[in-house]
């Protein structure tokens, strides 16, 4: 899989330690509970979850790979494809839509050179800029409906982001925002 933005998946001692710590949160015979925590560790460190990572999680927890893959494929928050270095999730649900989140998405795509028509809402809803710096997707309600439109950039949360101040948002991360 072509990806220059994130390091390749490798289990370092730190990652293994963190995995063990998470596994320890659940009863000894219920290691399967640690599927999501381990997948979060992988996505946090490597940007997305590929089949090598999935198989590692399965072997670590004594599961069949499909038992991990069914979780990876179900949750919108887990990614099987590399996002951009800065991944933006814009809320599309009712209250934010009423404040103009669709227009915000359009503006962000303009500013970052992203062509959303190439993304597929079922299998890969993420659209990445040609340079790999930015990516976007719509997310469902982010629980801040009074301050819409809201979006997340990686793990940062931003309120009242409009087409007019969208450039300021991008500048916080990378002032050379056009790809």
């Amino acid at each position: 899989m072509d990806n220059d933005t994130f390091p390749p998946f490798i289990v370092t001692p730190e990652i293994d330690d963190e995995a063990n710590k998470r596994i320890g949160q659940y009863p000894d015979d219920k290691k399967r509970s640690a599927v999501l925590p381990l997948l979060h560790i992988i996505q946090h460190n490597f940007g997305f979850i590929d089949s090598v990572a999935t198989e590692w999680v399965a072997s670590k927890l004594g599961l069949e790979p499909m038992q991990v893959q069914e979780v990876v494929s179900f949750y919108p928050g887990l990614r099987e494809h590399a996002p951009g270095k800065y991944h933006m999730r814009i809320c599309r649900t009712l209250s934010c839509a009423m404040t103009g989140s669709a227009e915000l998405m359009q503006r962000l795509c303009e500013l970052t050179g992203i062509d959303r028509s190439k993304s597929d809402s079922h299998h890969n809803p993420i659209a990445v800029s040609p340079c790999g710096q930015w990516s976007v997707e719509f997310a469902e309600c982010l629980a801040s409906c009074g301050t819409g439109p809201v979006c997340m950039v990686n793990d940062d949360f931003h309120e009242a982001v409009t087409p007019d101040n969208a450039q300021d948002l991008l500048d916080k991360y990378d002032s050379a925002s056009k790809s």
């Binding site: 399967r32 599309r92 009423m98 949360f157």
Partner: protein, 465 residues
């Protein structure tokens, strides 16, 4: 109690009663354990340990606390569902998945006042006999996850968690478990399946009531963040005193989250039933935007049935007589809103003014449910997608008048026929919007679309191939 002031511009409205949200936007406040303890935090925990667990449950029953996650089920009663001669481990789960569209309250508790939740959880765990508790937190709250992990560590360091808490003989560990962006994990059995490491396909109830067969098929109590915080205050002031807040059978306070077409959207904590819809929208939230009139309100998160602002409702008084209640006079409680055909739900009040096309609103909502359906049962999996396709056509001006009836029929074939309440959540918006705005929807349809829409052309081509 020291004098509490709030950050400029974030002062509570005079009609609020800040109990759970006492420390939100508070001047000089931070989310550390030291700040919390200095303000009297964890004293209620010490008081709780002087009581028997059953006595705590009784206080919660006396208080009349109803779940604040959306169902409004009496919390004390839920706790009482654990089988009496149970020998399996009991689990307490805090549902911090806050994903009901229109709801934004638990967010502030976990970011700004995490120890209120932790103290509430310890008291609740002690009451129900749980030695392990999990906070299931939505993935989109990464900052709060870090805050809660630290808060748990700090609480452990002071022996509020761990073994033999404060010499009580009670052990408790709290762990954080992050979700991954699925609304269905807010459903308590979907959450449990997710916690077990599987796809979050909800379980059918009966028999899988979590209090009997929950996490790992052990008795499990799942409570909303806000509900668990109320427990701390109930122990602090006593159930009887708490029940004086609010109104009969609708006691205490709750946080209302107002969004949409009002001048002052935001969160407001009020005594349940002591403020009317009109007072909330016009006085507290400043009324509609300039030049606009209120059109419709969804009072309890997107799953709640929409209400028209010009409606009058015929409801029954406790003594059996009838009365007429206009929309703006509805008290913001659980029972009256239910009597008017909707639900107070999660407290997410979404307001629409006369600039909004109802077909657009309906379509936005249908996209949400079609996306979030877990897919396990046929009526919801097929129906939610079907309803979305029809409302797509209506919103794009490509629907026929029959489409509106079909949409309604599909909704009623989902409602009541699914494994979990998501079926109702997906179908009620459609049922209510069609029931109240049928004319407006049908006005956007045309008989001609039977032959002109892209979908019709595709179908004709398929039939004629």
């Amino acid at each position: 109690m020291s004098n509490i002031t709030y950050l400029p511009g974030k002062e509570p409205d005079q009609r609020e009663h800040r109990l759970i949200f006492k420390n939100i936007d508070r001047e000089g406040w931070d989310n550390s354990i030291d700040c919390y303890i200095k303000d009297g935090g964890y004293e209620q925990l010490k008081k709780a340990f002087k009581m028997e667990p059953q006595a705590i449950t009784n206080e919660v029953k006396t208080s009349g606390l109803r779940g604040r996650g959306g169902a409004g089920f009496p919390t004390g009663v839920k706790w009482g569902f654990i089988p009496p001669n149970n020998t399996k481990p009991v689990y307490l789960i805090c549902n911090c998945d806050e994903s009901e569209p229109g709801t934004f309250k638990d967010r502030y508790i976990v970011h700004q006042d995490p120890h209120q939740l932790i103290e509430g959880m310890i008291i609740s765990a002690y009451a129900v006999g749980a030695n392990t508790a999990y906070i299931y937190i939505r993935e989109e709250f990464p900052e709060a996850s870090g805050i809660l992990e630290k808060a748990i560590e700090d609480a452990r360091a002071k022996n509020f968690l761990g073994d033999d808490i404060l010499g009580s003989g009670f052990n408790l560990e709290i762990y954080l478990h992050r979700g991954a962006g699925a609304y269905i994990c807010g459903e308590e059995t979907g959450l449990i399946e997710s916690l077990e490491g599987k796809r979050p396909y909800p379980r059918i109830k009966p028999p899988y009531f979590p209090a009997a067969l929950g996490l790992y098929m052990s008795p499990t109590i799942v409570n909303n963040v806000e509900s668990l915080c109320h427990v701390k205050h109930i122990i602090g002031m006593g159930g009887e005193e708490y029940a004086k807040l609010g109104t009969p059978r609708n006691t205490g306070t709750r946080i209302l989250c107002v969004s949409g077409d009002v001048k002052k959207p935001g969160y407001y904590e009020v005594e349940v039933g002591k403020i009317t819809m009109g007072e909330l929208l016009n006085d507290v939230c400043g009324g509609p935007k300039n030049g606009r009139k209120f059109k419709a309100v969804i009072p309890g998160g997107s799953s709640a049935k929409i209400m028209r602002c010009e409606e009058t409702y015929e409801i029954k008084n406790p003594d059996g007589s009838q009365r007429n209640l206009s929309f703006y006079d509805i008290p913001m409680d659980f029972d009256t809103i239910a009597a008017c055909g909707s639900m107070a739900g999660s407290g997410g009040v979404i307001v629409m003014d006369d600039s909004r096309k109802i077909s657009w609103v309906l379509n936005n909502i249908n996209h949400f449910y079609a996306h979030e359906s877990c897919g396990q049962c046929t009526p919801c999996r097929e129906g939610s997608m079907w309803m979305r396709k029809i409302s797509d056509r209506i919103a794009n001006g490509e629907a026929t008048p029959e489409d509106v009836q079909t949409l309604e029929d599909v909704a009623y074939q989902i409602d009541g026929r699914t494994v979990c309440a998501f079926g109702e959540a997906a179908s009620w918006p459609v049922e209510a919007i069609i029931s109240k705005f049928r004319d407006e929807l049908e006005a956007e349809t045309s008989e001609e679309n039977e032959y002109l829409s892209d979908e019709a052309k595709r179908q004709l081509a398929f039939i004629n191939q």
